[in-house]
Symmetry: C2
Subunit: 201 residues, 2 copies
């Protein structure tokens, strides 16, 4: 129990019975994969895990928190993205490009991220989670910051270039973009992202 | 045999003994996957299939032809890409974007292409084939047309945006870019590709 508390402190996770936590996480993964993020409620995850829904909230917080834990996303987009967009759309392209490369070039975070994208490529249910759950945590604040009638299209174009960089640099490792310095790649991408954000389409 | 000949005429494949052809194709897939496109010779594929290398050339032509058959690529990049670049770099961005969308939006060709990219995401050896074999058939002529010292980087940036469109529109199907009209997406992407080709990076 002492070791578990120490571990919880390190990871920022709430303490509690490890079996209950694992059961909820397992149920969430199963329900999300089987039925999709949007069609599953916290109440249903609690039922599938055989626990009171209040315990789901106690261990994981919101449904978004539960998704991030289930996907093992190594950063919190709900903190990262607002920090980028709160300064407005001017210069947003370079801020997104720089932050994106610093997160993905970090080897500790790169491994779970690559695994996440790989699973989304091979499984329809994982693709759904990337699209409806994580995608909305990332793209909706960007679209809100853009604020035009075509903001959703613009945000998804930003997403398309970033997903392409994931493939070219981290998954397929196409040279020279795979081993070019982060600053070179960020400088090349920033005007693309900026035009998708507020330039002519 | 008559049916086979008729089939060969339809598909443009050379006639011959179907077992020999299948054995060569199976050996090629195995050798490419195990050792990588660049490290396998036509002679070695013949040996693995238990046939004379001349038969490999008879059935499939070059090693590039063999790769396209092994990957079941539903178009020939060695015809498609030169037709795009022979008019020079002016307007190349819009030509690439328009052609890319017409190939990928074609449902008959989309299925094998999606399967190809999916396998490259989940398997290191398939990723190698996409990178070293097919990648070079597509990116090298583009880099040659660009012709600057940083042409390889520019070509791989073009590749990154196109791979991102594959993910966003055809694999993960992120809206609205997934169901936007092809002309809308081509118009949005063309200036990105053109800047990667000959604009400031």
């Amino acid at each position: 129990m002492t070791a578990e508390r120490a571990s919880n402190r390190r990871t920022g996770r709430r303490p509690g019975h490890p079996n209950t936590r694992a059961a909820i996480l397992s149920a969430a993964k199963g329900e999300f994969a089987a039925r999709g993020f949007d069609r599953v409620s916290v109440r249903e995850i609690g039922r599938a895990a055989g626990v009171d829904p209040a315990l789901v909230h106690h261990y994981f917080g919101s449904k978004d928190d539960l998704l991030l834990a289930a996907l093992e996303v190594p950063f919190d987009p709900r903190e990262l993205i607002p920090a980028l967009v709160e300064q407005g759309t001017a210069g947003l392209g370079v801020r997104i490009a720089t932050t994106f490369l610093s997160v993905w070039d970090d080897e500790v975070r790169q491994l779970p991220l690559v695994a996440l994208v790989r699973s989304a490529m091979s499984s329809e249910s994982a693709a759904d989670l990337l699209r409806s759950g994580l995608g909305q945590m990332i793209l909706t604040p960007v679209a809100d910051a853009i604020g035009t009638p075509d903001a959703q299209l613009r945000a998804s174009l930003v997403g398309s270039q970033l997903m392409g960089l994931i493939m070219a640099r981290y998954l397929v490792r196409m040279e020279p973009v795979a081993s070019a310095p982060a600053a070179t790649v960020a400088a090349a991408l920033a005007p693309t992202l900026q035009r998708y954000i507020d330039g002519p389409l």
